[in-house]
Amino acid sequence: MKNTILIVDDQEINRVLLAEQFKDEYNIIEAENGAQALKIINENKDIVAIMLDLIMPMMDGMGVLAELNRSGKIYHIPVFVITAADNMEILSSAYSLGAVDIISKPFKMVFIKSRINNIIELFRHRNELVDVVEESVEKITLLNSRMIDALAALIEFRECESGAHVKRMRAVTERLMTALGILYPEYAVDRVTVSKIGEASILHDIGKIVITDSVLKKTDKLTPEEFEVIKRHTVGGCDILEQMYRDIMDGETYRYCCDICRHHHERWDGGGYPDGLSGDEIPIWAQVVGIADAFDALTSPRVYRPAFEFDTAVKMINDGECGAFNPKLLQAWNTLIKSGERFSEK
């Protein structure tokens, strides 16, 4: 099946000349103005090149280029600007909006045909490569996700935490991270990053899998020595991640996992562990997981106490009973609660 070239020019003579050159190898669609061109581009998936006049009624060529930029189509379809102008300013604008080449009027047909065919071929290869890369990224993302799931299953198997806890942690982390970014733009990250941080939060207690049962499952009060052993799950978690995943996990996710593992028990006033970091020395994603973990611990039953009620737990967090948190983070936390967020109450 032939691919399609779109020729956009308000002058029929110019369109016919170009169509004649390419009609044997391609389907040709013609448009008389920019608005018509955009409609055709949106309705036809097999357009492999656009020849675009700049000065036209309805919508000019620059308008079409701007719209193709906005939709991202400019990266997949080569656009050749048709112009009788040698105005450098106009040509520079066209190039900066993504035009790949200029077709000058009067047309020099031999050159036009070669140039256009070459660039169509280059874009075809490029688009194929983009597909291959996207497929690979998808596989790597899936692999990352599966690795994290496997570790989470291990944590659950070892009875360090329940699977429900792990799921809640992820949900609270993602919602709080998003709310924080909306209230305080200095902490804002994009949606993909929020998702990676949420995924990394699942592994916050991975270090607990190497703590002996006699300490981990002890129902009586821990001795100071035993508490020191428990504290080691933060640094120990990073060691596990480093040994198992440093080389195969994507760099960004690995960083979030390590930061969260090591620092989710740090506190804003420096009163946490293992490094006694304070303020924004603590990575914000670790701060977010810290509050989510403290809240989940309060609302989960323990052998030595029942679960606290939701409102009581919220008050305890605000009152600093689980250590000091970033005031901006608390603000975002309370905003979420006031908006009716219950974090999938148990």
Partner: protein
Amino acid sequence: MGNSDGLIEDMERLGADIEDAMHRFMDNTALYEKMLKKLPEVLEKAPVLEYFESGDLDTALSNAHTIKGVVGNLSLTPLHDDYTQIVELCREGELSKAHKIAVETVKLQEEIVSQIKKYM
């Protein structure tokens, strides 16, 4: 559509570069003649001198630019040269010079149009 025998010769007499045109139209004389017959309508829809004289220089320049592209593709060299000059002079702000050329150009243009219309 009328018989076109003689149209190309008439255009050549008025300065068209037929060799250049045939190269662009891939020796398809019928297509060239067909496109020449579209020219009167293009010129009618994009007057230059009128807009010049009414003071609408933006439209005059835009129309001159459009015609420059079309007559260039039809290899009507004298017209293409004139419109190239008109566009350049307008951009440089040399409006009286541009107007002077436009007055002369319209005369040639009318002659070309009347020749083409003989074959329509």
